[in-house]
Symmetry: C2
């Protein structure tokens, strides 16, 4: 299976030549931007029809273009382009799951897919409180703690308190927290992003690092979500989790 | 447990005030840079002794400072700072595991921790062949395919071919492939990083996106590695996986 590389290859929808290579690689559902896919080998859409499918030049803020982004300072825009690239993968991974699947527990140590998803929203919310409002970590308003505390903690608290929600519930809280984050990013500049917090727990740490953590943290838990998905009752095997 | 946020809090080593909050949070072993940690609340080292513990100003390329990095063009350096931030987490997560632990299979669909780690090295290697040498995906030299093919594929191929290696084996192949990647990055500039491949499988995609994927891909599988680690025979429970 020479062509198999990563789960990202699953974006390949129309390339018949790769059908063999993709067998068993079903970890990442099709994402929104896969719909724009036209250029892979094996796609035989006639060249003169290409403009009907996609613009001849990718838009500056196309999702697979990481870099500065309109509406943000250059480094903040670059970070946002990373967030925008990862987030649809999370949404697409969970959007078709039932409440029962979102509440599935692999074992007594496990977190549910729902709780892990809520955890991602909680991470946005808490870093928001910390880096935008300047609150010391953990010194949240009661309303914030009440809403996101169990999701941040996971484990017993998550298993006890986060259940019975449908996919829309989790998608909404992800969107609500992220929109709030992006609105704050728009008000700030690269100087802010690069500013160093000398007293942060990891050692001197800039805002870019804190928010890059929020960003890669989605990948971290998406890896787990996808592993759990492939263990749902009736799930097919998957190579990559 | 108000202060519990993410696995990253495990970098907290010396902050006694957080001992309670950290109970059960053991997913990420201490990383190298945690040794530099001095500034968290609860650390009572006298202020006048601080300079003996850490430099008063963090070095420009300190690991928790994401941004441009000496020796690289600005955007490439920023990407490298992200890679440098994540990689020690992978190394530290696996470095103390035995061969038996690295070969542990959660179930018959699972990948071993060893295979997932090798998979990260294979990802570096294949994107290296593709973006630096310009090879079409999958059209690797036989030596590259022979070395990394099973690791990229995972699943049955990985379970069959990747076993019996100790942690140093995996750490070495991670380092070898990454050093090679960084050496190539040093020869390139931001124009190269932002250059768009119109024919890539995901749609128009720049090199920044391809290499950001390689970067976040470590988080993705580290999430799985840590989940698997907490299921090793005799492992303690962990909140975050």
């Amino acid at each position: 299976m020479k062509n198999a590389h990563t789960h990202r290859r699953n974006f390949l929808k129309s390339a018949a030549a790769f059908t063999g290579a993709m067998a068993g690689l079903s970890l990442l559902p099709n994402t929104g931007w896969a719909n724009a896919f036209t250029g892979a080998p094996g796609n035989n859409a006639p060249a003169n029809n290409a403009s009907a499918i996609k613009p001849p030049v990718p838009p500056a803020n196309d999702v697979n273009i990481i870099g500065p982004k309109e509406g943000y300072s250059p480094q903040i825009g670059t970070l946002v382009s990373m967030m925008d690239w990862l987030r649809p993968q999370v949404i697409n991974s969970i959007k078709s799951l039932t409440v029962e699947q979102l509440d599935f527990l692999l074992d007594d140590k496990a977190n549910t897919i729902g709780a892990l998803t809520f955890h991602l929203a909680a991470t946005d919310a808490f870093y928001h409180e910390h880096t935008f409002k300047g609150l010391e970590w953990g010194k949240w308003d009661k309303s914030v703690e009440d809403k996101f505390g169990a999701a941040m903690e996971l484990g017993d608290a998550g298993r006890k308190k986060i259940k019975g929600n449908n996919a829309d519930f989790y998608i909404n809280v992800l969107q609500e927290t992220r929109e709030s984050t992006l609105a704050e990013f728009k008000k700030r500049d690269d100087k802010w992003l690069l500013a160093v917090d000398e007293k942060w727990y990891w050692g001197p740490t800039n805002n870019y690092c804190k928010w890059f953590h929020v960003t890669e943290h989605e990948s971290h838990h998406l890896g787990q979500i996808n592993l759990l998905k492939s263990r749902l009752p009736g799930a097919k095997s998957a190579n990559n989790g």
